[in-house]
């Protein structure tokens, strides 16, 4: 019988399990999540899915976070049979993010990867049909990136009354990026 409540596996447990099979795949293991090496990411994901202990057969969700210096692709993977869930991150370069696609492993990833490509610009190698999901093809740039419609000092236009760090910073006006210059 699976556990009564979902167990969140610690990053170390998942990392140790993956290192057992693929030594170089794990880059770092924080408490809440595990960071995979982008180069060997695909076999690590395949291992996660087919391993009996991790049993990652259910890809809960996939999204991308713009960490200014890099773009993290975050995967939440779960096993329904053993009712546990864990988080895996794959860092990618900020200007030209490129990550191996997991669509061949999980069918559910196809649409979520297209959404990540459409809104964040993360290219997924091996995705059967990587095109924009929501926006039309000629849309300039990828809206969810922090540098989209950005202002000097990374200050976001909407929150002038709650300055982020720099108290002296004042809100600026919108400067939409002209098409062609953003990509």
């Amino acid at each position: 019988m699976p556990h009564p409540a979902t167990v969140t596996l610690a990053g170390a447990v998942v990392a140790e399990r993956i290192r057992g099979a693929l030594p170089g795949a794990v880059r770092e293991a924080a408490d809440g999540y595990t960071v995979l090496d982008p180069a060997r990411m695909y076999e690590a994901m395949a291992f996660i899915r087919d391993d009996e202990v991790l049993d990652g057969k259910y890809l809960v969700q996939l999204c991308s976070v713009d960490q200014v210096t890099r773009i993290d692709v975050v995967y939440h993977i779960a096993s329904l049979a053993q009712n546990h869930i864990f988080e895996v991150k794959v860092p990618a370069d900020h200007e030209h993010p490129e990550v191996a696609s997991v669509a061949p492993l999980w069918v559910g990833a196809t649409l979520q990867e297209r959404e990540a490509y459409d809104l964040m610009g993360v290219r997924f190698a091996g995705h059967p049909n990587l095109t924009r999901l929501f926006l039309w093809d000629q849309f300039p740039g990828h809206p969810l990136r922090k540098d989209f419609l950005a202002l000097p000092g990374g200050q976001k236009p909407g929150l002038s009354q709650f300055p982020k760090q720099v108290p002296g910073q004042t809100g600026g006006e919108f400067r939409p990026r002209l098409p062609g210059s953003g990509e």
Partner: protein
């Protein structure tokens, strides 16, 4: 001598009576049979995830109403649970019970809409929709009595609920739950579940195998109709759902008919939950005080709930600022659509419409 017929591409949507919103399905057909389906979404994309990065945590709650506008309270609940998990906020007992009551009421309203629209796609000339909408109106009246709004309720706040229930709420709820809706759901059983023509139209239409259901990370009635007993209220209990006694209805062969019957059974289970929840209503505050410009500590949190459409998850990343650094929503409607091709290719156009109705997508949630 095979007849030469060139494939025709037919647009189903975005203006189509039964695509449940602005959703376009381009089907390549040979005669009546569909050979290929291409899905086009994005007509209702409001880039909520970008907007959410510019507003405080409390200001983001109204976005969740407008995502799945048929089950707004469930979306509010999902987001507030994620923020409370991130900021470590305790929710008083009374607020938790109120949250359970209202999310179950909203589930009944959403399933009423789904069942009615599904039968309408099977061709019953608006009759079942009228019945299910009549019952949905009763539920919405109750919600309006407390939250002030029928659809975009914005009722659940971080740390509790917005308003306490008025005095006439409990008697009205008691009347609705104990002597009004039960007969209605028996009426649905007689009118819809045993209906011969719906059996012929929906049986073995849009079939999903259990393996494909898990691999395509389906959730909600799609998963349970394939024979997998998975309900987040039991698997990952939030708002202490594990203390309530209720069952998960599970289908057999993952077709549209099972999904419809599952939704009707789930409505009955929701009634059971509400009856138990009403007895647990204790005194005490209905919410804890949360600063308006809440600044949760750095970090991230992923919380998920069982919304009527499936597993609705919120992944919130905080950088210590008043606004979420990243705000991502796991939309069950979008992910349930990833098997649209498996379910519709090979069947006729009429079946594709029935299948789409049985998936019960909400385009506001698909496009966000």
């Amino acid at each position: 001598m095979p007849l030469k017929s060139e494939p025709v591409e037919v647009n189903i949507g975005p203006q189509h009576p039964s695509t449940h919103g602005v959703f376009r399905m381009v089907a390549t057909i040979d005669g009546e049979r569909i050979t290929d389906v291409r899905m086009v979404v994005g007509y209702l994309h409001r880039s909520m995830e970008k907007l959410a990065e510019e507003r405080t945590y409390t200001q983001n709650i109204p976005f969740t109403d407008r995502m799945d506008y048929l089950s707004a309270i469930n979306s509010n609940l999902g987001y507030c649970l994620a923020v409370e998990k991130l900021a470590g906020i305790e929710v008083p007992e009374r607020a938790t019970v109120l949250r359970v009551i209202f999310s179950e009421l909203q589930r009944i309203a959403s399933h009423c809409m789904a069942t009615g629209a599904f039968i309408n796609d099977c061709g019953a000339w608006q009759t079942p929709v009228m019945y299910t909408f009549r019952d949905r109106e009763k539920v919405l009246d109750l919600i309006e009595m407390t939250c002030g709004a029928r659809i975009t309720t914005n009722y659940i706040r971080i740390g509790g609920v917005a308003f306490d229930i008025p005095d006439e709420f409990l008697p009205a709820l008691d009347r609705l739950v104990n002597d009004d809706l039960p007969q209605r759901f028996d009426e649905y059983d007689r009118l819809l579940v045993g209906n011969e023509i719906i059996l012929m139209r929906a049986r073995d239409v849009g079939v999903v195998t259990p393996e494909l259901a898990i691999n395509a990370s389906l959730s909600g009635p799609m998963l349970r109709s394939a024979g997998i007993a998975w309900d987040l209220r039991k698997a990952d209990p939030y708002c202490d759902y594990d203390t309530y006694a209720f069952d998960i209805p599970v289908g057999y062969n993952g077709d549209s008919y099972d999904r419809m019957v599952i939704r009707i059974e789930e409505m009955k289970q929701s009634l059971r939950i509400i009856r138990q929840a009403v007895h647990r209503l204790t005194g005490g505050p209905h919410k804890t005080e949360v600063p308006l410009a809440l600044r949760p500590p750095e970090g991230e949190a992923y919380a998920r709930i069982e919304s009527p459409k499936g597993e609705l998850g919120f992944y919130v990343v905080s950088d210590g600022g008043p606004a979420p650094y990243r705000w991502h929503v796991r939309a069950p409607s979008l992910i349930n659509l990833s098997v649209l091709k498996e379910m519709t290719v090979g069947q006729t156009i009429a079946d594709a419409i029935v299948t789409l109705g049985s998936i019960d997508i909400n385009v506001g949630e698909v496009d966000r």
